[in-house]
């Protein structure tokens, strides 16, 4: 009896499983709602998500459409967008990290903003380049950020030390401030983009370049890092720290100075009694330019094949990156407005961050020279400075990195 199954049950079972399979396979295509526009960004922090939602509400009202915000962690924006591209469900506006934009542009995923009627008037050339790939302007920045030297005012005052401006001064100051559990300086040399981002101001201010990692200038910058570590001014854990870890150490009083960015200011201000200041990153010799990395996101219009919607998307970007919205966003997030007029207004409202604005003026984009090849160079470089900081001679490590960076392409 137990074996008497009838096809009457079996057939529906098969049909059901086939149906489920069919739904899974075909469920990707999505119909767009004509009045609802979507923005994909990485504003997963509550405050950033809220600020963006407010901006989108204002812009939506102005343009007569509804704009929805989708946020995924920064490291997943790129892969998420690529998946959306293959299922033809790209968002109308895509906020990419500027270092990832070239890859997306190269893949044919972005529409040039000028074709959609967005102008670059009042935007400094450096920031236009920041949002451009091979001469085409794809990404509008609202604000930009860069790295600067943060210092504990009280600690420096107590030691009777001035804020360093050259490498020699910084080395000396850091040495003197290193005391007991406190290190003179904290920075991130972790094995990810954080570490590379932090290395660039040293590499660039010393005349080095990402296209030639084995040059004496890059080695000089790395040797400078090594000297700080040798002095004991940097913690050995530096190679294991992200920029957020560096900020934690600074806030806990375990570091007197740190290299970090304005996105930490909100957290820094949450600690009562922490009296911090900000300065440009010291340069190799007095009179040199302090060249920092330009960071931040750019707003792009992905190639969805729907010309009308793309035009409206450009209008949304125009509103989000408009002068007034830039100032609002910059003051909320402690970053520097991209637009020159907005930046001038912002300077008067946030005078304590003036050093940051100066640093932005000379800052460089990481991908300007290498475009989509940046990621392989970045991986090679992080491996190299980690090897050097854990004992290998800088030249050997960088020579290997240069070989590795060029062999993959």
């Amino acid at each position: 009896m137990s074996n008497r199954f009838t096809p009457g049950v079996a057939v529906p079972l098969t049909v059901v499983s086939a149906l489920i399979g069919g739904v899974v396979l075909s469920g990707c295509g999505q119909q767009r709602d004509p009045d609802v526009y979507t923005v994909l960004n990485s504003s997963t922090d509550e405050s950033y998500h809220r600020w963006d939602a407010q901006t989108l509400a204002r812009c939506g009202k102005q343009l007569g459409v509804t704009i929805e915000q989708q946020s995924v962690p920064a490291s997943q924006v790129m892969t998420k967008a690529l998946r959306m591209a293959s299922s033809k469900s790209l968002p109308d506006v895509l906020q990419l990290d500027a270092s990832e934009m070239p890859t997306f542009a190269e893949a044919g995923g972005l529409i040039p903003l000028k074709d959609l009627g967005l102008s670059t008037r009042d935007i400094p050339e450096g920031i236009v380049n920041f949002g451009s790939y091979e001469g085409t302007y794809y990404g509008a920045a609202r604000t930009v950020n860069t790295l600067a030297l943060f210092y504990n005012k009280d600690t420096l005052d107590k030691a009777g030390l001035k804020v360093p401006t050259t490498w020699a001064e910084m080395r000396e100051t850091a040495k003197e401030l290193t005391h007991g559990k406190r290190y003179g300086l904290a920075l991130s040399a972790g094995g990810a983009e954080d570490g590379v981002f932090q290395f660039t101001p040293f590499m660039w201010s010393n005349g080095g370049d990402e296209t030639k990692l084995d040059s004496p200038e890059v080695a000089g910058a790395l040797d400078y890092w090594k000297s700080l570590l040798k002095d004991g001014s940097l913690s050995k854990s530096t190679v294991n720290w992200t920029q957020a870890d560096v900020n934690d150490q600074f806030m806990a009083g375990n570091a007197a100075m740190m290299i970090n960015g304005p996105w930490q200011v909100e957290t820094l201000n949450s600690k009562k009694g922490l009296n911090w200041g900000i300065a440009q990153i010291p340069v190799p010799e007095a009179g040199d330019d302090s060249v920092g990395p330009l960071g931040g996101g750019v707003l792009t219009v992905p190639n969805t094949g729907d010309g009308e919607r793309e035009k409206m998307s450009a209008k949304i970007i125009g509103c989000m990156a408009g002068e007034q919205e830039q100032i609002t966003y910059a003051i909320n997030s402690w970053m520097v407005p991209a637009n020159e007029k907005a930046a001038a207004v912002w300077r008067t409202k946030a005078p304590e961050l003036a050093a940051l604005a100066d640093q932005v003026a000379t800052a460089r984009s990481r991908t300007a020279k290498l475009g989509a090849r940046w990621s392989s160079v970045s991986l090679a470089l992080q491996s190299a400075f980690q090897s050097a900081l854990t004992g290998e001679p800088s030249e050997t490590a960088l020579k290997r990195a240069q070989k590795r960076a060029t062999s993959g392409n």
Binding site: F5, T14, E106
Partner: protein, 319 residues
């Protein structure tokens, strides 16, 4: 459909109908076979869809030039064995393979020995046995990423709890757990052992409960030492469970990714890169999906070899 209803009705009073008119035996067999396939079909469809398709896709992808533009154009031209030779020529691959071997063997030995020790320990009766046993389960309940982040803090060379503890008991206190290229892999293995102990302990403890108590009584009557009892009774009786623990442990260890990303990001200086982190880096950092697929396939191949061992061992057990 008339046959269906007929047979359904037949089900209600099978004996009477059968006696009245014996149906064609060939037809019954055919129908029965169809019914069996009908029940297997959902499983087959499911396997094909969620296991077969990605697997085949991954193998095909490793012979394709699969780049970000593929997502837009849908074009991924075949490039022969380019991806494979690129991966094999990358010095990082050799390193990652070696680290994976060390990591897997180290973790398995550590987890298994400590897990077995604890299982044997807890199979005696003593006060607080149950509470202690459930406390040891804790590492298992914590998500891998959380363990990673917490351990990263604990192992911090300057501000970590472990070093300051070692310092106060006068045992150094300046160990570069995660910051030295020679130490980082060992630390990662130690953390993974910590995570894996509960799993080993629980399964082996379960196995120990199945060993007949009479055998131990007999052994003690014969005057066998504790070690002899363990070697001649406990271990052989546990053999099938040990196979399960080791094979499952192997599979979850060889593909390690999240723990290493949270602890060291593969660093310092690639000293903790494994095949898992390499495939992640290739696919999702460099967006070279072809190369990522190659490393992924190698991982699948290694796991498959062990799965075959496991199946064979189980088949022998059944005989």
């Amino acid at each position: 459909m008339s046959t269906t209803t007929a047979s359904a009705a037949a089900g209600a009073a099978p004996v009477a109908k059968k006696a009245a008119k014996p149906p064609n035996p060939a037809r019954i067999r055919r129908r029965r076979r169809l019914a069996q396939w009908g029940f297997i079909a959902p499983a087959v469809v499911f396997m094909a869809l969620f296991f077969g398709y990605p697997l085949v896709r991954n193998i095909v992808m490793s012979f394709q030039d699969y780049s970000p533009s593929t997502f837009f154009t849908g074009e991924s031209p075949f490039n022969g064995t380019d991806n494979w030779s690129n991966v094999f020529n990358d010095e990082l691959f050799g390193k990652a393979l070696w680290h994976t071997i060390l990591f897997t063997i180290g973790s398995l030995i550590g987890q298994f020995c400590i897990g077995l020790g604890l299982a044997v320990f807890f199979s005696r009766r003593f006060p607080l046995n149950g509470i202690l046993r459930s406390l040891i389960l804790l590492p298992w309940l914590v998500p891998m990423v959380v363990s990673g982040v917490v351990w990263r803090r604990i192992l911090d060379q300057d501000t970590g709890v472990l070093n300051s503890f070692l310092g106060t008991i006068g045992a150094g206190g300046d160990t570069p757990w995660l910051t030295s290229t020679s130490m980082a892999l060992i630390s990662v293995i130690l953390v993974n052992i910590w995570i894996g102990i509960p799993f080993n302990m629980v399964i082996l403890y379960g196995g120990l409960q199945e060993v007949p108590k009479e055998l131990y009584e007999a052994a003690s009557l014969d005057g066998a030492s504790a070690w002899r009892t363990f070697r001649s009774i406990t271990l052989p009786m546990l053999r099938p469970v040990i196979t399960v623990v080791l094979v499952l442990g192997f599979m979850s260890t060889v593909k390690i990714l999240d723990l290493i990303l949270a602890l060291t990001d593969g660093g310092p200086a690639d000293s903790t890169q494994t095949l898992g982190t390499l495939t992640y880096q290739n696919s999702f950092v460099q967006l070279d999906f072809g190369a990522g697929a190659v490393v992924g396939n190698i991982l699948i191949l290694i796991s498959a070899v062990f799965a075959v061992f496991y199946l064979r061992a189980n088949r022998n057990e059944g005989k």
